[in-house]
Amino acid sequence: MAASAGATVVLPARGLRADLSAIWVVWKRELITSFRNRWRLVMALVQPLLFLFVLGNGLQTVASGSIGGFSFKTFLFPGVLATAVFMPALFSAGSIVFDREFGFMREMMVAPIRRSSIVIGKCLGGATVASVQGVLVLALAGAAHVPYDIPMLLALLGEMLLLSTALVAFGTMLAAGITQFMSFQALMQTVMFPLVFLSGTLFPQSGLPGWLEVVTKLDPLSYAVDPLRRTVFNAVDAPDSVRSVLDPGIHWWGWAVPMGLELAIVAATGLLMLAIAVWRFERIE
């Protein structure tokens, strides 16, 4: 030590403070670069808006047999919130691959900090960006006949934050082993559609054939969409007959899974994926 330290040299900080500072700066950079890339924000809005207005109006006629005059858009709205955070969350995770391909990842990897700080900062940053996108869609609640009820909006926001954090962790876990952005995009397409279609995002999970019902219960995304939907239905006037069709909840062998447990499942899955992501990151040279 004595041999190396010059009188004027101020060594960088170390320990917890350094790691927290690293998380903070990685988070901040994620926000700056995301919001600077306006097209990325606009593109991420296209899909949820298509779902809400095109699919919502298009399926109204088909659905009216079982739900009467109730708006199918109201049903779709919570699912659309999930898709609104889905794209930006995975895109944010994908930017890790992008950073690797274009070198910036190295700047972070050689810094005197724990790799977990990079992963956590990245996940929180991606979750923040995704939730902001979610809020933009949330602002359209009125168009889906969902009231602007403050407690409901806050609950939805919290649920979206949780979902986006878990999604970025999921994407980061996958991205850790991938060196080319094209491969990541292809992988995302492959995993995204089954996850979304099986989660009750776009159609009600009541009256499904037995095998399909089982598969939807294995999709972790189901446990993120269901609380969103319950939160919305708790705030709108829906006849019981309609609610039993559109918002049946998730049942395990006849037992209605409570919302708290659903959220806990999402959080636990997210944490597990975050742990795997960190583990994989620590092994990158």
Binding site: T8, V9, L11, F102, G103, R106, E107, V110, A111, I113
Partner: protein, 331 residues
Amino acid sequence: MNDHLSYDPDAAVSARGLVKRYGDIEAVAGVDFDVARGETFGFLGPNGAGKSTTIKMLCTLVDPTAGGARVAGHEVASERLEVRRRIGLVFQDSTLDGYLTAEENLSFHAQLYGMPRATTAARIDDVLEIVALTDRRGDRVLTFSGGMKRRLEIARGLLHAPQVLFLDEPTIGLDPQTRASIWEYVADLKRREDVTIFLTTHYMDEAEQCDRIAIMDAGKVLVVDTPAALKDGVGADRVRIATHDDEAAIVALREKFDLEAAIHEGEVTFHVRDGEQFVPRLFAELGIGIRSVAVARPSLDDVFMSWTGRTIRDTEAADPRRAMARMMGPR
């Protein structure tokens, strides 16, 4: 770990028996050297000589297979973070974020390295001034030229006041004017900052700028000395001739003058003492038509040749892709 290795305690960088194997390939085959504090130390060698692998071991990016190294007083394998806090790195490829401005790239780095907030702003001003990018500080890096990006990377490498700054091929891919200007900035920062510089290059003229050079080839350090001492060691001038029959000329040089010649870069090349006095004899006695003659004082090229038997360009010509890159790129 590695307490048994006899590091030089005063050195900024001290390597002992450093080895890196990838499967059967020995990229670095046991190297020893010491870099004094404040020195500019160059690793000179062709592509694939093991320079980058050595630098990666010193920067804690790759673990040595055997042997060890101390950088700024800390063991690279077992005290990774301690080493990283004391070094600055500039890689061959850009590691800047194009969406951020020059200043944002620097302040990101400052926070990542846990620099005290109070001193960061002034330090950013200083390093931007060293590389003359003060007036572009608010511009996004996407809009920068290759030379500006490299300068910004050097500024960033210096930002946290490292004890050792590693520059891995700092001017690769830049045009000659830009390369020269990068060296002016490096010389300037040496005057202003108390920093040891460790660089790799395969450009001879850049190696000349170093206080000492290690010549590396095929994973081994062949010699370490000052550029002047290395050139003196060669002793002989380099003579290059174009003849009507190169093969016959090589034979004739061996038989009549006892000189070993070989074809390098398309010309018969050999070394001889007092080359200028030798030329008249050559014309008189060779017996083969000579179209042109060039005599040169020993350069680092000759040093490299005398140690490895080939010029750096020969080694690159064996790899057509590199040769093409050289033709299109600088020089």
